[in-house]
Amino acid sequence: MSRIITRRALLGGATAAGGLLLAGCSESHLPPTYGSLLGVGEALTFASHRLLLPKNTLAREFGREMITKNFPAINTVDPEDEEYQRLKRGGFVDWRLPVTGLVARPTSFSLQDLRSLPARTQITQHNCEQGWSAIAEWTGVPLSRILEHVGALPQTRYIVFHCSDGWWDSLDMLDALHPQTLVTYGMNGRELPVPNGGPARLRVERQLGYKSLKFVKSIQAVASLDKVETGKGAMVVDYGYSWYAGI
């Protein structure tokens, strides 16, 4: 053993580093799926992102010339759900987006209501977990605006989304309130097409594409994910995917 690095120093340093990491792993720095061996990797990644990365960095936004010509539409492209099909036949005029849970003023928004709220348009890149990337222009209302409108209570820790094709997922408040997190109703200057998630889809720009849920049908503010569905934060967790997809 070299004179400079003694065994004692090495063990001491490692313990200190471990302690630091654990101290940083307060409840807010652990994903809901922490506990399994694979969850250890996700926990390390989530904790290090929340601790080391600046909180409100923006994903890149591009010029219009970068917009992808044939933006792929995969997974569900037309939800079978009867209610959804009925609303679709009516041009989504009767479609409503209820926002409930830990909010002062539970509200159901029509598409017109959403369009009347302050809008943001962003040309961003969608990075699918499969490996492909495509760029589109998205128009919608920042989720933070919706939460402000309904008066989300201070004990809110997560926002939960349910979709017309059966998917459900959630975001922590940092990503929920991020300026680029939108409930979108427009794509490439037109109404959001059904295959791409119409009438409303989420955009979560600092995570992989599967967090940008299509066919959003309800939003809930909750203090804990434990009692939501499986308690694991997202439907995809049961298929082996990470809740935190900032990766």
Partner: protein
Amino acid sequence: MKDRPGPHSPPPVSRTGQDGLIYRHTVLVRVTHWLNAISFFTLLVSGIAILIAHPRMYWGETGYFGEPSLFDLPVPVILEHTGWGRSLHFLAAWLLVLNGLLYLITSFVNGHVRKDLLPTRTQLRLGHIVQDIRDHLRLKHPSGEAARQYNFLQKVAYLLVIFLLFPVMLLSGLTMSPAVASAHPWLFDLFDGRQSARTVHFISASLLFLFFLIHLAQVVLVGFRNEMRSMITGRYRLPPEAP
């Protein structure tokens, strides 16, 4: 007195013991070597699990089915393994990074990099380099005192792997993290776009795999038992001088 080690200077590390074995690899080198081997193997397998969901490589920002690719891999699209694949990949990546940092920091402080990895002045002479290449092509391995240190091409290979390929793997991997890349968009400039980073990640992984095959072959060719013993217990028998 800090003579550069060479074939005619006194052995810098250890004297040959009673049993004819020298102490070749420190416990730090050995432990980090095997942890690295575990993480590399896991990264490779889980990386393939992720790759086969979209076995096409592009250059630039975007790329998707229907768009021309740089090249397609001759494998079918298999979507089902990216879930566990990605989780395992990042678990192994953490092991690689933490273990790698341990190795790098201690190796710089301990002098392992300077004494064992950097080529000596003798090894950098053109005549020596040419001879080293000739010996490699003839599969002629160093013997006697010359076998105490890594040979020239060996050092070059290790330095490229440690200081070029693994850093490129890490950086190109981080570029594909939407969270990290939004905080460090210079990564996209470095790699010329997100899909380029993905392609670079694949190419450098392939080069690392190639290194791994050569590394295995050399370990076997030079003397599997002796080499494995030195990387497990640290003790190594210098190959007897060639007649």
